[in-house]
Symmetry: C2
Subunit: 412 residues, 2 copies
């Protein structure tokens, strides 16, 4: 049946087959834009982000509106089987990020077989879906990879105040799915989990409903669940110099297979919003070191005004986290707000799923968090309840390349 | 500071104050539209839905993209205190649905006091937010309301296959927040919970990331997590006759305070997607009684073709649920897909948060579910794990009216 369209059945094309895509097409041609969750830079809502490149998409890519993140445990001891899964994952990711269904014969296959694609994204647009893979420290205990673990993929120390739930911590590998439509992100993770059945199993997963950072220059900074703009000075995807200096692994930085990659730190940060909401405006602004309405640093008028750190309380979040106070340490943040129902005490289980990319965990998150965990006034209102680190390999270069090729190739 | 704008500080106005709203305004003037999650009818993404009316918004309103639903337990025995909370909730709902912050002095109040609004929706547009309140059976055991419980608010019987989690079942009252931007929906529930602190506590809550039903005539029917279009013949918000017959409580239907209201059944339906995904296409299509690609009934070509029920298997979902097979029973469906992380076995905790509105629970959901729970082939792949019913009072008529006024007024 896929030959109806003279090629592979893209989600976009399938709408057209049904004759229902005309209004959509017209609207897109007319310049449809979406401006959800605080970003006032109009961007095409449905476009595809290129999958191939020197770096994986989903890091410097303008932050999409929604997230589904999944960490997996490996269930096979068979290296070839695992490699085969990585190849199949890559092919599926290539197709899904282009807005296509998994598998050529998604709905034209045998009626007696399960469809190649689970189907819930059929008719939806690519929605700027990016899929970004990372390898956890424990993966290097398998498949004879011990000698290839990068030193920069450091285990995180126990930080003061950590209250980590093992069920939300760690993982042999992970996939970050970001898209403007959550159904597209959920579909992608589900189909990867399905392809991996028997080889990997989901260890934990996290949905994020609202981005809290922007990597688009001059975009309005989104607000977190404390109602504040944070991450004002985040690295923009267009700032090549800062990306090279702080995010991308350089050629001489460690094992060759990681050149062009990055390191990801994920932290599930529960925010005690009921307590925060009973705190005075003055205390809230003191804690962040910004005013709530504009996001301006203490004593300044606009969000992007240069902060005068000494005007802030010594425990203010901005003062403690600012690169000037940390020997220039800068990480690229890509976190999302989450709300996962209610805890046993009737409080919303809500917070920030913190995601940050950096060139070396030892020189990025660890020293920064050592300081913040000891001194940040925010700690009174937050608790880190999940944690993981991943080595994020470089991009898939072309149609023959696959996620992890350089790591798993015998000669590398 | 609200006088800067000559009136109340709308979220939209606040963007303008910061000088960052120009690009946004221009884009809106140019006809910005969003078409997320399968609905190809372009609709303004940011508009406000009127709060006042004969019926509450959020029932016949075109279904928004995202959901945050919360059920509450009452914690006070003081009727006046509870009524005062309902008045405050109504005022907050009136403001939030209009895109305004809670409280006149949201950011212009005393620095020594907590802000009236938690702030994370500041700068976001109204996003078609609707807030819909419902009263559960257990509320009528309180505050001397016993004589006012409508017979149509029937307790649900135990259906075959039910596996209800008490922590996700029941509730003295509930609020359904729907919006195109999830951050706007989450903000609304959070601020109501905050206003209710000490009087009510969240019993359970549910986020929905993708609508599975449409109430817009001729809109493309969204797909559920089984990849199928369901709810093709749903009641459209424009079908006044069907709404009157099947959804709105009539003048002579029971207690006067419910006239113009409706009854809501909420069911958390876990979908065993890993099992489903290993099922053949033929079996999947037999289970629903539709083809997967088009959504056409068995033997037909298009989704909206009239189904020939006898061509389907006797256990097909469409055949069993069709009004023609149930003496005309019709309910308005407004459900959402959910994904809440992973269960202990590494399976996605995903499914359908089923929401349906009807004129009488005894003549709507109960007989329908008695039949489906006994015969529907879908039962092999689903499990009902949460359940609640609510009496949804009529709309708030004007600025002096409030949620539940007719129920709580001494003379009614």
């Amino acid at each position: 049946m896929s030959s109806d369209n003279g090629g592979s059945p893209s989600r976009r094309a399938l709408i057209g087959w049904g004759g229902a895509g005309l209004a959509l097409g017209a609207a897109v041609a007319g310049g449809a834009v979406a401006m959800a969750s605080g970003d006032d830079t109009p961007q095409p809502v449905g476009d595809a982000v290129p999958f191939h490149g020197a770096h994986q998409a989903g890091i410097a890519t303008p932050v999409q509106d929604r997230l589904h993140f999944a960490a997996f445990d490996v269930k096979t001891d068979d290296r070839d089987e695992f490699v085969q899964m990585l190849r199949e994952w890559t092919e599926a990711a290539r197709r899904m990020t282009a807005g296509e269904a998994v598998g050529e014969g998604a709905y034209g296959g045998l009626a007696e077989a399960p469809p190649d694609d689970t189907g819930e994204a059929l008719g939806l647009r690519p929605s700027r879906l990016t899929l970004t893979i990372g390898f956890g420290p424990s993966l290097f205990d398998r498949f004879g990879l011990g000698g290839k673990r990068p030193a920069a993929l450091a285990d995180l120390p126990a930080f003061p105040g950590d209250n980590l739930d093992k069920a939300r911590t760690g993982g042999d590998l992970a996939v970050q799915a970001c898209a403007d439509d959550p159904q597209v992100a959920v579909h992608a993770i589900r189909n990867l989990a399905r392809i991996g059945f028997g080889k990997v199993a989901v260890r934990w997963s996290q949905l994020g409903f609202g981005k809290t950072s922007s990597t688009t220059p001059d975009a309005q900074t989104p607000r977190n669940l404390f109602g504040f703009k944070d991450g004002t000075r985040n690295i923009a995807g267009t700032e090549t110099d800062r990306l090279t200096r702080h995010v991308w692994v350089g050629d001489g930085d460690g094992p060759e297979w990681m050149a062009g990659g990055s390191y990801l730190v994920a932290r599930r940060i529960r925010m005690n919003i009921e307590t925060w909401d009973r705190t005075s405006l003055q205390e809230q602004e003191d804690v962040f070191g910004r005013d709530k309405r504009e996001g301006a640093p203490v004593g300044k008028a606009k969000e992007h005004d240069e902060p005068f750190l000494k005007a802030m309380k010594p425990t203010a979040h901005v003062r403690l986290a600012h690169p000037d106070a940390n020997g220039g340490i800068t990480i690229l943040r890509r976190g999302y707000s989450f709300t996962d129902g209610t805890d046993g005490l009737g409080r919303l289980d809500a917070g920030l799923f913190f995601l940050a990319y950096m060139r070396d965990v030892r020189e990025g998150f660890i020293p920064l968090q050592r300081k913040l965990s000891a001194h940040d006034a925010l700690n009174e209102y937050t608790q880190h309840v999940g944690s993981a680190v991943f080595a994020v390999p470089p991009g898939v270069r072309n149609a023959d390349d696959w996620w992890g090729r350089a790591l798993f190739s015998k000669e590398a």
